[in-house]
Symmetry: C2
């Protein structure tokens, strides 16, 4: 992932087609991509994940692992299928995610009494501790994101996406 990390700002000479867009930004014409929400959504997602990955690195947690801890903590006893659907990931992938979290003793898989096919997920005390740290780091990340986007644009996006 490049995107950020591009420190050089120099000779971007040789531009053809000065963009019809009012934004001073795109030296390079986006053409059809300029109408595709997916292009911009992806670029923002890359920025956010890049920053969040670095933010969580000190406690050795990935964004995916963070979201697992958050959801399990707020929904004690939910099943893996429910968790996977909430996070938008494959059940199969969640298994490996949980394996790692369980081997670090951050989460526990309890057998559901009602339906013994299901695992009732819970955070261990250590899991809660790590989550607390992660939330502090997450707040810093959020602050940087708001700085980058501007508070109003951040608010507009959050509201529009929450309702989507």
């Amino acid at each position: 992932m490049t995107v950020t990390g591009n420190p050089r700002r120099k000779s971007l000479a040789l531009r053809r087609r000065p963009p019809t867009r009012r934004s001073p930004r795109p030296a390079i014409a986006l053409d059809a991509l300029d109408n595709h929400l997916g292009y911009f959504v992806r670029r923002l997602q890359i920025w956010i994940f890049q920053d969040f990955i670095r933010t969580l690195a000190p406690i050795h947690l990935s964004p995916a692992q963070f979201s697992v801890l958050v959801i399990v903590s707020a929904n004690r006893g939910l099943s893996q299928a429910e968790l996977a659907a909430t996070l938008g990931i494959e059940r199969a992938r969640l298994v490996r995610l949980l394996n790692r979290l369980q081997s670090r003793e951050l989460i526990a898989r309890l057998r559901s009494s009602a339906d013994s096919r299901r695992h009732a997920l819970e955070l261990t005390p250590q899991g809660h501790g790590v989550l607390a740290q992660a939330k502090i780091l997450g707040a810093r990340h959020r602050k940087r994101l708001i700085e980058k986007l501007g508070a109003d644009r951040h608010g507009v996006l959050l509201q529009a996406l929450r309702e989507a």
Copy 2:
């Protein structure tokens, strides 16, 4: 990427800020994630890419390949480094992307006369043909996305993200 592709309709509400957690089968609480733009951005990106992947499948083009064709077509002669930066992908990954597009004879790497380290990228006639088809399919995808989001929300998001 699951998210869609899952025939069953599990009714995961993903409601905002469920203040109470009631007994039967309450919507799953997002807790801290509800303030994290990244969570929602990622979910929307998953939906969009899922749909776009299926849309482009008939012409055997991935979203990444589509964006390469669009940018190269609109910026004839640009270098691989510039293209990679525009798309937010690694130079190294772009090499393999281009290898495949070149072996299908959709793009050409010409030696830049000004700087012989650079490759001046161009679409072949076939590349332009495929791109034309892809744009038609892309328009259908966009229509579905607008239906899903609602025209106003789509507009709000596109504008906010373009300026971000």
